[in-house]
């Protein structure tokens, strides 16, 4: 009996330790959220919500007429992410179908480790390669004065989101019960028909989650796009425009900023944070639906 009580006490202590460690993470999230809201609100109040969100000019260090409109950054982030999805999802999707269903085992293991390696490359390396290869390449290919542009950023982002899309999609496709496929094959469908008409629809919520994860990765990326997008606060009117993303707007000016400029940067971070919350909520929605289905 005594030993049992002792064991139980120990159990409780360990429970407590686990709880404490769990709370550290939650505490960090809460701390960041509260800090962002507290430091992001003042500038929005001073500038005004509408001029801040829909202002087209960002001239934060102008001595005569500072302006804080972040519409160019919001549109750039939205267009850039959308472009990366348009380029990245088809490639990622078909790679995932091939890896999960069609690839011979040996090739599959090589391809899978290549995909894992792609996700392990630091973003600054993507940026560097983009800066040295992609940007001059775009300049020569399209005969424009400078290649640092929205297009360069979209291409880099599309490559960067591939691993997340492929890995999550493969997991979803592999979880489709084999009986579904066997039934389809038995009815005379070819393997490819089976995979595209039976497996993919069965795994659709997982694949949707993969796409949303890719969106999240693309919208939050800062380092790589900072190196290839040119960073001038222009409205993204063409693919070849030099543009600045929400993330890079914060990253590029934070180190020297002061006063209202700094507060406005926190407000940009708050807007970005809200975008990411929205994306996470969408992700949760798809994952939950996947479990129920």
């Amino acid at each position: 009996m005594k030993q049992y009580l002792k064991k139980q006490a120990l159990e409780r202590v360990i429970h407590g330790v686990f709880l404490l460690l769990g709370l550290v993470t939650v505490g960090c999230v809460l701390l960041i959220t509260i800090y962002l809201i507290v430091s992001g609100i003042p500038a929005i109040r001073k500038i005004g919500l509408v001029p801040f969100l829909f202002g087209k000019v960002w001239a934060s260090t102008s001595k005569t007429n500072p302006q804080y409109g972040i519409l160019p950054f919001i549109l750039t982030s939205v267009y850039g992410t959308a472009g990366a999805i348009v380029l990245g999802v088809p490639i990622g999707f078909f790679t995932a179908v091939y890896l999960a269903k069609l690839a011979p085992p040996q090739l599959k293991s090589i391809l899978s480790s290549a995909v894992s390696l792609l996700s392990g490359i630091p973003s600054v390396v993507y940026g560097l390669v983009g800066m040295l290869v992609l940007v001059p390449g775009i300049r020569k290919l399209f005969h424009i004065p400078d290649g640092a542009s929205l297009l360069a950023a979209i291409i880099v982002l599309a490559i960067m989101i591939l691993p997340s899309i492929i890995k999550v999609s493969v997991t979803a496709l592999e979880a489709v019960p084999k009986e579904y496929e066997d039934a389809s094959l038995a009815l005379g469908a070819t393997p490819v028909e089976t995979y595209l008409r039976v497996s993919v629809p069965a795994a659709r919520s997982g694949i949707a989650a993969a796409v949303v994860l890719g969106v999240g990765r693309a919208i939050g990326e800062a380092m790589a796009v900072m190196m290839v997008s040119g960073n001038a606060p222009n409205l993204p009117t063409s693919l070849f425009e030099s543009v600045r993303f929400l993330t890079t707007a914060v990253a590029s000016e934070m180190s020297y900023s002061s006063g209202l400029q700094q507060q406005a940067l926190f407000s940009i971070a708050l807007v970005l944070f809200l975008f990411i919350l929205l994306i996470n909520a969408t992700l949760n929605f798809f994952l939950k639906r996947g479990k129920e289905a």
Binding site: D146, M226, S258
Partner: protein, 268 residues
């Protein structure tokens, strides 16, 4: 007996500590001002502190204007300004001592045939009045303007010297000198600016009004895209012992290599 010895030893130790302290310099050096001088003053402060461990060195990056004001109001020992003092500031009893010079090189791709521009030409290129290299004697190609991000000391220096503050039509705003140099070395039609000390062979530094940017031309003032880093003190107010020693140290030949490593040209 053992106890006695240990007590005697302890007393000796304490005594030794005190005699050591008596010779050591102690106190505080408070500096306030230019953000562009951060690297230079930070390096100087660090090496000064490591040589005089009793001294606390502080640097408050507020901007040249507020640094000058802080000296005037006695809120710091030494003010830091990245421009020469104005006449009214001098007549109000402030003394400026140039500690270093910051030369900004104008760089282009090595393939670019242009090798000399005047300050006026540089200004009209950056404000977008001249957009093609052929207007300044180069190829028929659009000029690609590379600059630094808002708030950068180099950008601030370049724009204030060329009179293009808030008027530059940048194609790219990059966040480090290295990125500017890499980008210019990759694009034959690009022009950029970078701190003189960091210019490499992968780009070509232009002569400005016929003067090549070197340490000597910056020092004698013939290379015009430069600005002074000034230590501001108040006339008639005696600096504290520690502050005076730092002041002398910053101007000594001993500090020159430290200033050079931080990217500027020592004035002495």
């Amino acid at each position: 007996m053992k106890k006695l010895i240990s007590i005697a030893l302890a007393v000796l130790c304490v005594a030794a500590m005190f005699t050591g302290c008596a010779k050591k310099l102690s106190g505080q050096v408070a500096t306030d001002g230019s953000t562009s001088m951060e690297k230079v003053i930070g390096a100087l402060g660090e090496s000064f502190m490591s040589a005089n461990s009793g001294v606390t060195f502080t640097y408050n990056p507020t901007g040249s204007g507020s640094g000058i004001k802080a000296v005037q109001e006695g809120r710091c020992d030494i003010g830091l300004s990245s421009r020469a003092l104005k006449d009214e500031e001098k007549s109000s009893g402030l003394v400026g001592t140039t500690v270093a010079l910051d030369g900004i090189a104008i760089i282009v791709n090595p393939e670019n045939p242009v090798s000399d521009l005047s300050v006026e030409q540089i200004a009209s290129i950056y404000t977008g009045e001249i957009t093609n290299w052929k207007d300044v004697g180069g190829n028929d190609a659009e000029i690609v303007l590379i600059g630094r991000e808002a708030g950068s000391g180099t950008r601030d220096g370049f724009e204030s010297i060329t009179g293009t503050t808030d008027a530059c039509q940048y194609r790219q705003e990059l966040t480090s000198t290295g990125d500017v140099i890499t980008t210019v070395s990759q694009n034959p039609d690009a022009i950029g600016y970078a701190s003189l000390s960091s210019v490499k062979d992968s780009v070509k530094a232009l002569t400005v009004g016929g003067v090549a940017p070197t340490e000597d031309t910056v020092k004698d003032g013939s290379y015009v895209i430069q600005r002074p880093f000034v230590l501001v003190t108040k006339d008639g107010t005696k600096l504290s012992e520690a502050a005076q020693k730092f002041f002398d140290y910053a101007l000594s030949s001993e500090a020159a290599p430290i200033i050079a490593a931080a990217g500027a040209v020592a004035a002495n």
